[in-house]
Amino acid sequence: MTTPYYIPETNIPLPPTDADVISTACDYCIVACGYKVYRWPVRGGKVGGPKADQNAFGVDFPVEILGPWVAPNQYNVVLHENEPHHVIIIPDKDAKHVNINGNSSIRGGAIAQKVYNPQTPTRDRLKSPMIRMFGVLMPVPWDFALDIAAEVGKHVIEKHGANAYCVKTFSYGYMENTYAITKYALRHISTANFTFHDTPSDVTSTPGFRDAGFDNFGPSYEDWRDADTLMICGTDPYESKTILFTDWIMPAIQGGQKTIFLSPRNTAGIAYAVKNGGMWIDLLPGTDLPVVLAIARVIVENGWQDEEWIRKWVNNKSESSSGFGQGTRNTPWQWRTTWGKFQTGGFEDWTKWLLEQDYAVPEKAAEIAQIDVAKIYTAAEWLAKPRDDGSRPKASFMIEKGFYWSNNTGNTNAISALGITCGAGGRPGQMIGRAGGHQRGGLRGGKYPRNKSPEKLPGRRRRAMDTDRYLMSGHTRLAHVIGNTWIQSMCGSQSLSAKFEELTVQNPHQIRSFDKQEIIETLKKRADSGGMVVFDQDIYLVDPIGARFADIIFPAAGWGEDTFTRANGERRIRLYPKFYDAPGEAKPDWWIIAQLSKKMGFEGFDWNNSNDVLEEGARFSRGSRKDFFMVKVAAQKEGKTLHQKLGEFGTDGIQGPVMMLEDGSLEGTKRLHDTTRKLPDEGAAGANVFNKKLTHFNSQTGKCNIQKAPWSLFSDYWEWLSPKGDELWTTSGRINERWQSGYDDRRRPYIVQRWPENWVELHPEDAAARGIENGDYVMLYSDRIPVQVDTIIGIEGDDFTFTKLMDNGHIKLEKAAITAVAIVTPALKKGVMYMDFLHTSQPANALAGRVVDWISGNYNYKMGVGNVKKIGESPYKHDFRSMSFARRDIA
């Protein structure tokens, strides 16, 4: 028997002094560390030497600690202009921002392993378009695949309407691509059957932030560092956005920052914080709201709120209602205020409401969350208690998916109110925002046609279509999937998969012909018969959406294979240049979309390169947090392309929104909502725009709305889900070593050795009670996965509550099961199981309820429940080569 093992190399070639050096940024997490690619030709057999004057780093080997060391995983061979080249990709040791002096995570650090090299496990990159003929995906020329796709696409739109054409796409795969995709889907097709990789509906991820007036990414990284108290909810940045922790939060902790974590799982970053004076609030999944409001209650009962800030920056009753009641009541804000569950008449009104909520009494909240109540009082003190000299601690609030995907609306409303109470949101070191997941590469080329959505909520308001539910109802006739893991990435994955299978491969109309016209007719018949055609556009063949269900595959080019642009979690916009040839016939997504659009008869897709796309899209960034329009203005002035101009910023990039100063130079924006920022009195000059969010909040008045966050809107679902009998909570999240579905990590022997397959963490007492040990194979299963069905028209205010949906037969209970290797660790809260969030073969989401947050339309992915039992021993139980069962929270 062997299990995955990896024999490391013991040497590497060094880049010679004349190697090409290309500045870029990492492809993975939100932080987007600066990197340098060192590239030199294989031809000639030249390599650098160990002396400073013999290598491109200009240093002697062995290098110093923190120096430009090259691990074997940072080396690869690529084709560049069709000639083999060595590449070494290491973090930029000259970086002045983000990863200052060149730190890196385990993901980005080994990003050289990502690039296509047929001698490595990347050899299965998609290299040519394919059509499923006679049940098998066969390579075909681009024109052949695109002609068929365009004809079928046109037919579906004409015969079944634009909403029958679904586009499910990544939101972040670089601005050039997202602009092209949204221009195609939203401006030209104008389908409401459109959403992004991480949500069934194109809706905001943080409804409470939006209504309070906070941008998701207002803070700069130095704000997280400069907070005296930092409350981190639903993530350990060390586990998922490493450099944000090691380079910004860890030094702050060393300097005395009090760091508070809300999470059911302890990890290395939390353990480090706790060891150095921080606090871990180890709550049960979904119980954040009572805990957050209890902290707020302690603050207001002691009078520790930031009065001055509140007086100046919080809307009172009339300000809150301003603009209310005019025109159609079709905006989220008006709907919410009309409904009355959230709006307050200002801080005093909110306080009055808060004190009436029994679940916000610390002792009661602690009981719900199963935590030590003392932690609530301590958190309140650290966040808001004035010091002896009367000064206040600078408090900042960071949230991420463990928090906002547990009780989406409630949690984001509650944390916004707590933040406002502590004076956070608009000053250095006193900010509120998301930590972030993926990078920010969205650029809208069209507007979502909400009026075409069938989702109608009480108050005559339409909400973006739930694409999963629409598909389950059989309305989607063509699913165009771009760079994501639809099906496993959505909740209740297994029943969704079954529906895909029924609509595609089980439909009688399957391609059994080599003739293009016959193929087109077959796919049209599929759609007309109530079945569904699937196009999948990706870099690897994804199972099952591509491998089993797709009729047409479009091979995409990614990072380093074309020149792209994207922003990080502090809105830092950077260029990601092309440095090697994409595999085979793989093309960037913008190119694929442009060819398809032209064949479908759409105008405005005559781009020659990715720069053309971005130059066209630049004006659509205006008013957004990553407004880079002025970079284009500067480029044109200087006779450069936009990409050339962006490239000049190197790994520094520039933080959006970008403005042009009088001398023609460009200035970035350190933080949004910066109430300390002084803009020129004479206003915006030239083509500059001063958006309200630069110095005020994203609300109707520019001040914050402090909102109620009633537990009752969610507690019926939470109580229904709560483990019964032998069940345990099941939740999931990122681990440091895997990015998204692991599409790259599965192809890295070093990571595969560490994580050969899906795993589940269990508390020792829960494990012992079930006879489970480290390394056992376990089955996680449930026969009560709640799945919301039917698109209904809401009339009464509570029509969409879980209780009402259940009473009226709109919730179906389904079965689900996945296997995993057990890891028994006291790092986990008792009563909770924790898994990686997206293993394609054993998806954690199978056990998460497919019931959307009924206010926002998002899934609460982190809320699942199930049983667990041992089914045998895994090969890793007695093996020393793969997997480790040591605890991850050693401090």
Partner: protein, 193 residues
């Protein structure tokens, strides 16, 4: 050349042999294997579900160095030594884990040795031995931890590769360091600096 490729294949499997055969830059290991320089193959003992298995590791021109005596090792008390030379980043540790480990020697297969420098950014791991978890770390720089029962595989953290494991041989009571698995931090070649 053909027989040397055969040797590579026997040791590292056909994929690695092919890679090395086509490799444009001759890495040191393949250079040594294909040009007739003295090469030794050491069998690393690994424990598997079926029992003990011998896994070949490639070792070339590493010194054989006496680093300690089995009878003098106390459980969980690391002994420091330098290997494969006395130069920068040669600091290593020998430890009796008291628990069977990958590559472990001695009657209990629990004696292992590792380089002390974190394979992320070179942070010093001296003094971070965790007896309870049989781990090294967290690294003071960026908190990486390494599992000493699993060939130095990282547990949590940022390291670009496993902690280099010093290959050991037992001769009576004498423990010899005879080679290394993995590139030592700071160096471009374990034996050249």
């Amino acid at each position: 050349m053909t027989e040397n490729t055969g040797l590579m294949e026997a040791i590292n499997g056909p994929a690695e042999a092919r890679k090395s055969g086509r490799s444009c830059v001759l890495n040191r290991r393949s250079f040594l294997l294909t040009s007739g320089v003295a090469t030794a193959t050491v069998m690393v003992t690994m424990h598997t579900a079926e029992g003990l298995a011998q896994v070949p590791a490639v070792v070339a021109t590493y010194p054989r160095k006496l680093i300690g005596k089995l009878s003098e090792l106390k459980p969980d008390e690391p002994l420091d030594f330098a290997y494969p030379d006395e130069n920068s980043y040669s600091e290593s540790m020998l430890v009796k884990l008291g628990r069977e480990a990958g590559g472990g020697i001695g009657p209990d297969k629990d004696v292992v040795a590792f380089n002390y420098n974190c394979t992320h950014q070179g942070g010093p791991l001296q003094g971070t031995y965790q007896a309870g978890d049989k781990a090294l770390g967290p690294c003071p720089l960026h908190l990486t931890t390494f599992d000493l029962t699993r060939h130095g595989m990282f547990i949590s953290g940022q390291a670009y590769q496993s902690l280099p494991q010093v290959l050991l041989e037992l001769d009576g009571d004498d423990i010899y360091a005879v080679g290394m698995f993995g590139l030592i931090y700071g160096r471009y070649d374990n034996l050249q600096g």
